[in-house]
C-alpha cells in the first residue's frame, strides 16, 4: 500500500514526521490483510472448474492477487468459488462445507449455473442458483466465464472487502450468524416420477386422439 492509501485522511502528520509515522485504522489494515490473501477452496463442480484451473495456472496467475493457495480443506479456506452446476445431490455437501469454513468467508458464484441455474434452471435435479442456500458476494455471468472475467469478478470481491468494516461485518455481531444457511432438502420437481405412467397415458392420448381411434 502507498502512504496515501494507508493514511486515514483527517489526521494531520507534522512535516518532520511524514516519513516516520503512518496513521491508519484497524479496518484498513484488517481489510488489506484479508483482501491480499484470499485462499479459495479447491473444488469444482462442472465445466466452469476448467476455466478456474486456467485462471489459476501461470497464464493468468491468481498468485498476483494472493489467491494462489487453493485449499482442499474448508478449515483453511476464505472463499468458496462455486464453479459449476449445483445439483440437488451436491447441495447438502456444499452447504456443509460452507458451514465448516471459518469466518470471514466469502462466496463467489461463477458462471450461469451457480448464479441462476443457467440452462438447467428448470431441471429436475439442478438448484436454480446457489444464492438460494448461501449468501453470494459476487455473481460472475458467462458460460463459462473466461479466466479474465473470473479475475475481474475476484477483483470485484477485493473491492467489496476493502469497503467492509469490522463493526458492521456480519460475523463479528453478537448472537447467532445473521445469515441462516438453510438445511437443503429436495423440493418438488416439475415432474413427479411417481406419476410417469399417468403422464405417458396422457401423452399417448394426445398423440392419438380418441376420435381418430374410433374411426
Amino acid at each position: 500500500m502507498t502512504a496515501n492509501e494507508l493514511n486515514t485522511p483527517g489526521y494531520e502528520i507534522p512535516d518532520d514526521l511524514k516519513d516516520v509515522v503512518a496513521i491508519t485504522t484497524l479496518d484498513k489494515v484488517y481489510n488489506f490483510g484479508r483482501r491480499s490473501s484470499i485462499w479459495p477452496m479447491m473444488f469444482g463442480l462442472a465445466c466452469c472448474a476448467i476455466e478456474m484451473i486456467a485462471a489459476q495456472a501461470s497464464r493468468y496467475d491468481l498468485a498476483r492477487f494472493g489467491m494462489e493457495v487453493m485449499r482442499p480443506s474448508p478449515r483453511q479456506a476464505d472463499m468458496m468459488l462455486v464453479a459449476g452446476t449445483v445439483t440437488k445431490k451436491m447441495v447438502p455437501a456444499i452447504v456443509r462445507l460452507y458451514n465448516q469454513m471459518p469466518e470471514p468467508k466469502y462466496v463467489v458464484a461463477m458462471g450461469a449455473c451457480a448464479s441462476g441455474g443457467g440452462p438447467f434452471k428448470e431441471g429436475y435435479n439442478v438448484v436454480a442458483g446457489i444464492d438460494k442456500f448461501l449468501p453470494v458476494d459476487v455473481y460472475i455471468p458467462g458460460c463459462p466465464p473466461t479466466p479474465q472475467a473470473l479475475v475481474y469478478g475476484l477483483i470485484k470481491l477485493q473491492e467489496k472487502i476493502d469497503k467492509q468494516s469490522i463493526k458492521t461485518v456480519r460475523w463479528y455481531q453478537k448472537g447467532a450468524d445473521s445469515v441462516e444457511t438453510p438445511i437443503p432438502f429436495l423440493g418438488p420437481d416439475l415432474i413427479d416420477p411417481r406419476r410417469i405412467p399417468e403422464i405417458k397415458a396422457k401423452a399417448a392420448e394426445l398423440a392419438n386422439p380418441p376420435a381418430e381411434a374410433a374411426n
Partner: protein, 200 residues
Amino acid sequence: MYGQGLLKGLSVTLKRYINTYVDDFKWWGKRYFNAEGIAHRSSKDANGIFTVQYPEEKLPTPEEFRYVPFLVYDEGANGEKNIRCTSCGICAKACPPQCIWIVRSSDPVTGRPVPQPAEFYIDADICMNCGFCAEYCPFDAIKMDHDYELASYGRNVFDKERLMKPASYYAQIRPLNNAREETARAEKAAAKAAKAAVTN
C-alpha cells in the same frame, strides 16, 4: 539410466525461466502493459513466461468471441436512439435457456401494436452465450458482445437501457461481420427497389 526424463523436464523449466529474462532484455521495458507486448506474448514466437497481467493489460479478443448479447441501435440525426429490435420475439423463442423476456409496446391512442419493445430483459445469469439469438434475428438487432467484465454484487438481470449499444460499437468489435451484413442489407434494399420499379 533412470531420471533422464526428469532432468529433461527440469531443463525445459529452466529454459523458460532464462528465456523470460532474455525476452525482457530484448523488449526492454516494453514487454508488459501495451498492446504490442501482449500480441507478441500471445504469438508463437513468445519466449519464457507469458503471464497476462490482466487488469492492466487484456488479451485481444477474437472477432467471433461472444459473451452476453446486446441490442444494437442506430444513432439518429438528433442523437435519438433508433432501436433495430421490432419485438418479434424470435430470439426469445430460439433461446435455449429462455433468458430473454420481451414486453411488446402498443400505440397509446389507437391501441395497435408498435414494432418496438417496451421492455427487453436478458437474465445474464441464465444466458449461456450460445449466440442463437444473434443467429436467428432477422433484423441484425441483437448481437453478441465482447465485454466480459460483468461481475456484480447482485443478480445480473439486464434491462433495455443496459443492453442498448450503438451500431458504431458493433462495427468496432466485429468489423468483418458488420461489413458482410452491410453489403447484404444494401443488396436486399437494391433488389427491393428494382422490384418496386418493375411493378410500377
